[in-house]
Symmetry: C2
Subunit: 194 residues, 2 copies
DNA sequence: GACTACCTACCTATCGGTAGATAGATAGAG
DNA sequence: CTCTATCTATCTACCGATAGGTAGGTAGTC
């Protein structure tokens, strides 16, 4: 009764875990084969090359992220609460170590070495995430719930950069709580009157 | 008349450039040999193993960073100007592409895969940088030049995380100006009255 | 003569990837 | 219903290239 395409999904899931741990050059087909329980050659049947695998992986990741944002927009209307929910999502992922890093943020570090097909997806993720954050901040300003000191686009880029840096610090310190320590006050700042 | 130890330095310089481009697993002894113009085996004469090489590299990097901060403390007394100088340093490095990423920030992404000797140095860099930033902010507060909304330590960690995230964004967008766009307003925020 | 810095030549392990076989499911054609 | 052809997913066995690393030699220098 297992899903006929579950092996491909298992491979992607495994590759994602491995990539979160150490980036594009930090894992091999052999690593995946060991975890999934099939032979190296069988992975090539599902994903002819490593580029195919990672491109598919990042593409799936982006689709899930977009879907997550759509759901968040549907369920929460207040812009400040949307940001809180976004931060809360990552806080949970990092605290339970289920996905303690955004793969696009991690891959961005290796960008000069990435295959074009992958780097394009990484750039696209940055653009779309920054775009969404900008729209949330603009809506918050329009509703009088958010007060900014810089253009919404700049504030959005700063917000995103700080979130990515917070992931880095949580990892560097070996302390998952560091993420929330940095990220949570970010939102309160927008609520403060100036 | 060349410095007898210049080859070792050349190797370190080259390795640093390569590591900035793609992290620990993104370069090889063969890459260094090609650039420096010696054979692979000769690198092993100076640095017996890759771990030795990168440990030495990060150690040198940290010493230079500490020395830079000492010089900065000596030349500039105003805390706000110290932060401006720190950001300005990185802005220059990123704009002229001479060193467009902090190697410790980059290595932090791969931390779970790094040899212990390297990961310890990376952690130490994060601690000492955050420590210095905390002291700058505290001094600024004591002098009435800086106003904070959170404890100095938290503000310092946020500052550092945002700077690292700004490096990531500049790389992801392929636009070195993105660094200053994000990092420069950071300092102005401390000057704002609340 | 010891030491330093480099070399050639080589090692084993692993990398991403390929070739060809096999077993099982499926689907038409008679 | 059965025979045959095809497809899918996996396997074993292998490829050339490259990884980090070693052994042993050589030319120059203190």
């Amino acid at each position: 009764m297992s899903n006929p395409s579950s092996t491909a999904d298992n491979i992607l899931d495994c590759a994602q875990t491995l990539i979160v741990a150490g980036g594009y050059n930090g894992f091999s087909y052999a690593d995946i084969a060991d975890v999934v329980g099939i032979r190296k050659a069988s992975i090539h049947h599902h994903f002819p090359s490593k580029v195919d695998l990672v491109r598919t992986l990042v593409s799936r990741y982006r689709e899930e992220a977009e879907a997550g944002i759509v759901a968040l927009e549907r369920e929460i209307s207040d812009p400040v609460e949307q940001l809180r929910s976004y931060i809360g999502y990552w806080e949970k992922c990092i605290m339970d170590a289920s996905a303690p890093f955004c793969i696009c943020a991690l891959l961005a570090g290796e960008l000069p070495l990435l295959p074009d097909q992958v780097s394009m997806q990484v750039r696209a993720h940055f653009r779309s995430l920054a775009g969404w954050l900008t729209s949330v901040l603009e809506r918050g300003v329009a509703q009088g719930r958010i007060h900014l000191n810089a253009p919404a686009r700049v504030e959005a880029e700063t917000f995103m950069a700080t979130v990515h840096g917070a992931m880095l610090s949580a990892r560097a310190y070996g302390d998952p709580r560091m993420f929330a320590t940095i990220a949570t006050p970010l939102i309160e700042r927008y609520a403060a009157r100036h």
